[in-house]
């Protein structure tokens, strides 16, 4: 189901770029020199614990917040000064989709269709029906899951080249989540839509993303292709008597109660696992969720 990245798309300019983004709120740093770019046609999964700054980073990259320092660009334009043509190619689903709550889904789509030249009214209408959402009901009166689905339809109906989803699956049931992931994979694979998808439901991301980025303690700890991640990162476990021999460079290190040591390591330039030759060492392949837990815990 993962999106396939075509080489010609990799060569194209990145639709979304963050350069040295720093953000402070009331003197507290929440983002520290973040550099991130989305290759065209990629599906980037942004993971991190609650409060890690994922939503803030996304909002900065979209020009919805002015960063303390650094710059974000969308379609090669400054994010804070996006032109109308850039906006027509962009769709964003926020974490709390509470906009236009005083309209019905039908009215909202009618209103927004006037601004998006590529608006797919048939898709919006059919998907509303397929997902059994009452188009004539006030958005405020829909359940959180229905509301989130309406917002996802809204974003997809504008046929964007860049789709930004901030925790879109949080209020969705498993069926709706699976359908959303299928839609994202289809859009990325067939239409070449670039997707930024933040979530802490890591199993969802693993199904669909081509790239992964991990935000932890204000910093971007990892930013790579999903395949590269699978090939190049692993967990090294060392028994207590050899824990002192653990390699110095590791993404995370967690001592066990019995004196053992668990580390997240990256292959060296020669393609070897550092520390793999230590007596009693064990190398485990890492899933995204394992990595997330190893680093965040």
């Amino acid at each position: 189901m993962n999106a396939v990245l075509r080489t010609d798309e990799i060569a194209a300019a990145a639709p979304m770029v963050a350069r040295d983004i720093c953000q402070e709120f009331e003197g507290r740093r929440v983002l520290d020199r973040i550099n991130l770019s989305l290759p065209a046609g990629s599906v980037l999964g942004l993971i991190g614990r609650n409060g890690a700054g994922k939503s803030t980073l996304i909002r900065i990259m979209l020009g919805l917040i002015q960063p303390t320092s650094g710059m974000a660009r969308v379609f090669d334009e400054e994010a804070l000064k996006l032109s109308d043509s850039a906006k027509t190619r962009l769709a964003y689903v926020p974490q709390k989709p509470d906009a236009l709550a005083w309209l019905t889904a039908e009215q909202m789509f009618d209103f927004l269709a006037r601004f998006y030249p590529r608006w797919d009214a048939k898709f919006a209408h059919d998907t509303l029906r397929r997902w059994q959402i009452d188009a004539g009901k006030l958005l405020a009166k829909l359940s959180p899951g229905e509301r989130q689905r309406v917002d996802i339809i809204r974003a997809l109906a504008s046929q964007p080249d860049l789709l930004v989803l901030d925790e879109p699956a949080a209020a969705l049931d498993p069926v709706a989540r699976r359908e959303l992931l299928r839609e994202i994979a289809t859009r990325a694979g067939d239409a070449g839509t670039t997707v930024l998808f933040s979530s802490h439901i890591v199993s969802d991301l693993e199904r669909v993303v081509s790239h992964v980025a991990l935000l932890h303690n204000d910093r971007l700890l990892l930013n790579c292709l999903m395949d590269t991640f699978r090939e190049n990162y692993a967990r090294l476990w060392l028994p207590g008597e050899h824990a002192s021999l653990a390699p110095k460079h590791a993404m995370s290190r967690r001592p066990g109660k019995d004196g053992s040591m668990s580390l997240v390591i990256e292959r060296d330039a020669g393609g070897r696992w550092p520390g793999a030759d230590i007596p009693g060492a064990r190398i485990d392949t890492l899933g995204l969720e394992d990595l997330f837990v190893e680093i965040a815990e």
Binding site: L62, D98, L100, L112, L138, A140, P144
Partner: protein, 494 residues
């Protein structure tokens, strides 16, 4: 020990801040009441004064303090803690004994009117409790009947507590109030009504923090909650015609929602009626009061004068309320995290940089100021019709222009991201509100034909205060304007 615990239980049902406010309020009540009784009835008996004080104190306790135990009982039921729910009931019985039974017996022993005193106290307690423990609609009805009772008592011929026949209406009224309390309490505790629903008791609604930006459910904005609470007939019906990239101002108004979004004519009419009906009832009460106070006045003159004065009060107050409603809405959109701003910011066709800035200002300011200008003309026509003097007319005009100034200055400050600290905004708001009210009510409270603004120094003081306020608003507005110009686009949160 149990006695002290039960006595303290209602106090533990409120936060320490509310507790402190209640203590201050009760002390204030005590002082005001004491002064009022001294000045109002210098020759009144100690007995009459004391029982009146008791009845009012009773009302305040059963209105402000004891209804909070409903929240405690509701939470106790939800958390499956039956002992706390039982304690709440015992606590209420204790307070009923101390605030109703005991005073009735004590004062009854001296006066021989035990039942009358008891009924008075039961009525006061029931009134307070029924207001807080029933839905907003029933509470409004209670207030309406209370106002009607006090204004039309002479026409209705309701005997007071010193007259025979008092029991005939007071006892069923008290029974009805306590029946409403019992029903509201039972439904709330058994969770038959959601705390956020329109049918929920007022005290339960207040405890759910609906007045804050976000409630207990972090995924739900206050906007959504309010919209969900409203019945369908009370919802606004938007008018989408004309919205689109060619009409940015109209589109932004629709995206910001609220009273000032483009609405269908039927929706506008419905909203106007919702304001006019209570307004007309108020006008009727004012007229009755006016005629009660001046029975020798020509009826037609009285009606005309009273009506016009009421329009001045209502119109003036309405303009200030409009300013407050719009500013609090704009503040909520630009200040509390929500997705409305994000949606508009990324909407193509609005050119958020250059074209959108004036469009946003127009969308936020123009609809309110236009209504305020309309009201200003109506008010001035009324002022001329009741022969207010020139100074008074100027004062009324100043109050309206002041309200407009608030809208413009604060809207610029919010949209421009140059808000003052909250304490400064609140202080300025209170200062402005006092000034507007003094300017509005002082002229119209004077006798017809002899309108005076009081001593000359009051007028000078008022003018000085207005100049200070105007300078403050100009400074805030200019600061906001510069902030807006410096911003990359108009939809950055403040």
């Amino acid at each position: 020990m149990k006695f002290v615990y039960l006595l303290g239980l209602p106090w533990s049902a409120v936060s320490s801040r509310v507790r402190a406010w209640l203590v201050v309020l009760y002390l204030f009540f005590a002082v005001v009441l004491e002064l009022a009784l001294i000045f109002a009835k210098p020759g009144g008996s100690i007995f009459t004064g004391t029982t009146t004080k008791l009845a009012i104190l009773n009302l305040s306790i059963w209105l402000l303090l004891l209804p909070n135990t409903l929240v405690l009982a509701h939470d106790a039921r939800q958390l499956r803690l039956p002992s706390i729910e039982r304690d709440v009931r015992h606590s209420l019985w204790l307070y009923a004994t101390l605030s109703i039974a005991l005073p009735a017996v004590l004062f009854g022993a001296f006066s021989g009117h035990t039942l009358t005193i008891a009924l008075n106290l039961i009525l006061g307690a029931g009134l307070g409790m029924a207001y807080a423990c029933t839905s907003g609609y029933i509470a409004m009805l209670i207030v309406f009947f209370l106002l009607a009772g006090s204004n039309f008592s002479e026409y209705l011929g309701l005997p007071d507590s010193t007259q025979p026949g008092y029991f005939v209406w007071a006892a069923p009224t008290a029974a009805l109030l306590w029946l409403l309390v019992w029903r509201g309490w039972r439904n709330a505790v058994r969770d038959r009504v959601a705390p956020s629903s329109a049918r929920a008791p007022i005290v339960l609604k207040l405890s759910s923090n609906a007045w804050k930006g976000y409630g207990s459910d972090s995924h739900e904005s206050v906007e959504s909650r309010l919209l969900r609470q409203r019945p369908d007939w009370h919802q606004l019906t938007p008018n989408l015609s004309g919205c689109g990239p060619t009409h940015p101002q109209r589109s932004i108004r629709l995206a910001l929602g609220g009273w000032f979004m483009p609405q269908k004519a039927s929706s506008l009419l419905r909203q106007c009626l919702l304001f006019l009906v209570p307004g007309l009832l108020f006008v009727a009460f004012m007229l009755v009061q006016f005629l009660n106070k001046r029975p020798d006045e020509n009826w037609v003159n009285g009606v005309t004068y009273g009506g016009l004065i009421t329009v001045i009060w209502f119109g003036g107050f309405g303009a200030a309320m409009l300013a407050f409603a719009q500013l609090s809405r704009v503040w909520r959109i630009w200040h509390v995290p929500n997705s409305s701003l994000a949606l508009v910011a990324l909407l193509p066709g609005l050119d958020a940089g250059s074209r959108a800035k004036p469009a946003v200002l127009r969308a936020v300011i123009v609809p309110v100021v236009a209504i305020q200008i309309g009201l200003l003309f109506v008010l001035l026509i009324c002022a001329v019709a009741v022969h207010l003097d020139g100074q008074s007319e100027w004062m009324i005009a100043l109050s309206q222009v002041g309200a407009m100034g608030f809208v413009i200055a604060f809207a610029l400050a919010i949209v421009g991201g140059r808000l003052l600290p909250t304490w400064a905004m609140v202080a300025l708001g209170i200062f402005g509100c006092i000034l507007i009210n003094i300017s509005l009510f002082t002229p119209s409270l004077s006798k017809p034909g002899t309108i005076q603004l009081g001593p000359t120094n009051l007028l000078e003081l008022l003018l000085f205060a207005w100049v200070v306020l105007a300078l403050g608003l100009i400074w805030i507005g200019m600061r906001g304007w510069r902030g807006l110009q410096a911003r990359a686009h108009a939809f950055l949160p403040s």
